[in-house]
Symmetry: C2
């Protein structure tokens, strides 16, 4: 009988582990050889030696190939040849990692069939976004391109770890549904065994249902928006970081929670993702204290400061969001601003109106360097208040029976928010287009790769 024991897999040889074994150049003969794998990033010939740069998930490693010493000929090695290498790690201050590997053997694991359509070993890919996206599976091999998604991983880790530390439960809710949570035209439709169905544009109803079960929940998952915008900040599918928090004392709790998440995550990036921060030259934003300003006051401040006339008092134009960001950066050195009390008519029916002025809601957006990255707020938890608001809006309760049941049977005061992961990453990296920080974007014209 053979067994799988789970004991064979060890954290494999890493560049960091090799570095600790590197020996002085004058003691090579007594030094132990090591084995390491990766893809050939570049080959640079210098007379009868060649520097082969190895690309691995943990960085680039310089190796030295000496003509005539190895059984594999240099002519059989190319960019993106996949190799296992044996050699002696030797200290070398001029090498990128402070050491290099003097090769004694190379094993070819796979050979590419064609040269790359684009030079990915360049520091910056010198090409258009369009080309980058068309060749995405290949261009992501560029170490700066992939670093963006390593940082994105860090943001997701931060979200989960922070909320888990506060006893939130992680949930997975369905993405195929019978009717859209918030209605509207921006919903993808599909046929589900001869019945009409939709792709969820938000886990809103489900996370509220789950507040009735676990008090505090979060979800990281895809959401789908059939919006016909083709802008630099819109996607038709994106990853949403959602939480919903029961027993809140006010919608301010939600902003405190988001601030806590941002503080935790920036610290996590600083600690565990230093290599990527350096590669991309990222300036971490200030999250110590985040100014909050009401929607109405923010509009006024921007109109006054930048000499603009207010065209629509009930909505923020992208230009206004940008200027709010600019204003708070200039006045308070703030990278983030919470804009609170959005007009009721621009928020969904389940938003809690401000008891002091029902034209507005107990809600907020978070702007990051002038772009909205979060929408959140307190929800109505009282059954009859919810029914009244649905009626006042002339909406039907059809298709919302299951949702309404939770309020009928007692729900705590609660609220929550949704963060667009790709937008958050975009603004963190100060990119101009959200597609730069989306692994495989979906938009009006792009369904592949």
């Amino acid at each position: 009988m053979k067994y799988a024991t789970g004991h064979l897999i060890q954290k494999s040889q890493t560049i960091a582990a090799l570095a600790t074994k590197a020996c002085e150049p004058d003691s090579i003969s007594s030094c132990e050889p090591c084995y390491i794998e990766g893809a050939i990033h570049t080959i640079r010939k210098m007379g009868n030696i060649a520097f082969i740069l190895l690309r691995r998930y943990d960085g680039l490693l310089q190796t030295v190939y000496e003509e005539g010493k190895l059984s594999v000929s240099l002519s059989n090695l190319h960019d993106n040849t996949i190799v296992g290498m044996t050699g002696i790690p030797v200290l070398e201050p001029k090498a990128p990692q402070g050491f290099e590997v003097h090769l004694t053997n190379i094993q070819i694991l796979a050979t590419p069939s064609a040269p790359l359509p684009i030079n990915i070993s360049k520091w910056k890919l010198q090409t258009s976004l369009e080309t980058k996206l068309n060749l995405r599976p290949i261009t992501l091999r560029n170490i700066r391109e992939r670093a963006k998604f390593k940082l994105q991983e860090g943001l997701v880790r931060g979200f989960r770890e922070y909320l888990s530390s506060l006893d939130f439960t992680e949930i997975h809710t369905p993405k195929i549904g019978a009717k859209g949570a918030e209605g509207g035209a921006n919903i993808f439709k599909l046929e589900y065994f001869h019945r009409p169905a939709i792709l969820e544009q938000s886990p809103q109803f489900y996370k509220q249902m789950m507040v009735g079960v676990f008090d505090r929940v979060f979800e990281v998952g895809p959401v789908f928006r059939a919006e016909k915008h083709n802008t630099k900040r819109h996607l038709n599918e994106y990853t949403s970081l959602d939480f919903e928090y029961g027993y809140l004392t006010g919608f301010e709790d939600l902003m405190e929670l988001e601030t806590g998440f941002l503080q935790y995550s920036m610290e996590l990036l600083r600690k565990d993702y230093a290599r990527e921060l350096e590669l991309l030259n990222v300036e971490l934003p200030n999250t110590e204290k985040i100014p909050t300003v009401s929607f109405a006051k923010a509009k006024e401040a921007v109109a006054e400061h930048f000499h603009r006339t207010i065209r629509n008092p009930y909505d923020l134009e992208p230009e206004e969001e940008f200027l709010i960001g600019k204003y708070y950066k200039e006045q308070y050195d703030a990278d983030f601003v919470f804009v609170t009390h959005y007009p009721s008519k621009k928020r969904p029916f389940y938003a809690m109106d401000d008891p002091e002025d029902s034209t507005y809601t107990l809600s907020f957006d978070l702007l990051f360097r002038g772009l909205e990255v979060t929408t959140g707020g307190q929800r109505i938890h009282d059954y009859s208040m919810l029914l009244d608001k649905i009626q006042a809006r002339g909406m039907s309760t059809e298709g919302m029976e299951h949702y309404l049941e939770i309020f009928r049977h007692g729900m705590p005061p609660h609220g929550g928010l949704g963060i667009g992961l790709e937008r958050l990453t975009m603004m963190l990296l100060q990119e101009e287009n959200v597609r730069e920080t989306t692994l495989f974007p979906r938009d009006l014209s792009r369904l592949e790769p």
Copy 2:
């Protein structure tokens, strides 16, 4: 200027924290009152006192209401009334938590509008699966029902934490695509801005692309299968735990990784989810060593042992999987069995054929108590070998251009697997139907709630 600082949100008062503050019955007068929130689970009247059981995310808490002592009348309190309670925590060996709270004040936060359609405070819900699912947002409030999904959370945490410790990178790949990764009829179709599109039935192609970028990747996300089966083990949308591992030395590495994940997760459940394990009376499976047996040998063993004739030598019937599980439990006390070397004709084109017998593949399923919970294997990483296999199957490469490009430009030897989260949870809890361990199931007849 107001600020959100992130400092106000503390881990709130928990039952465990209260327990540490509970005082002896004879020193109540010097004891500090506490505040705690939750939903009323049950009210049991005993003369002029009543025991009010509070339901919170962290368990049930017994409180004592004494007639005439509080400003809130007992007649205003019902099952599922949402309350904030003030009282003195007092040691009481007979109470479920070893202490109870003597109430001094109750604040009603929300009142239900109607009695529950089903008694959720029962230990076991005495109702059909159909009714449970129809009333899912309410029946999940039952503490045993919700405990299933807390354990499910633990499995997902185990998957992520284990793979992250081995330097895997987490990715988020699109769920709307242009063409199915593995083709076939089981694909949901949708219209995407007047173009045909599909819902991904697996992140297979994308995770392989990302092995070319990060060497080791994983994803936790929804997958969609338009299968017309309505069985106890099929869902049309489920959560898939996927990983893909570059630079493998053989497909056995993948089984070692899965074994490591299972060992790590069972330990995590034992450590952090003891309450739920006890609530559901879960017997954790043996993961120390998992037997591996080839597809052909497993079929033979079962045919011989249970006196069955082999009807189809190239496929395992569900009955045979069940019997393999039974056989290995009886013979080796094994809860899990890896069945290896599946016939090539039953595996997708990208599966690596066994060089010793190309009728079979370097692949496996994991059976858990007789049910398949994982499919995995080594993939072809050589470009021309892949093209040859596509051609030999009479398939077209149309729609796979982006996928094939990664092999054209060098891919390491790699493989991976996909685990059905709901099935894994089902078998862990020894449930009869996968819908029992699916938060909001989607099947042939169910699109809501």
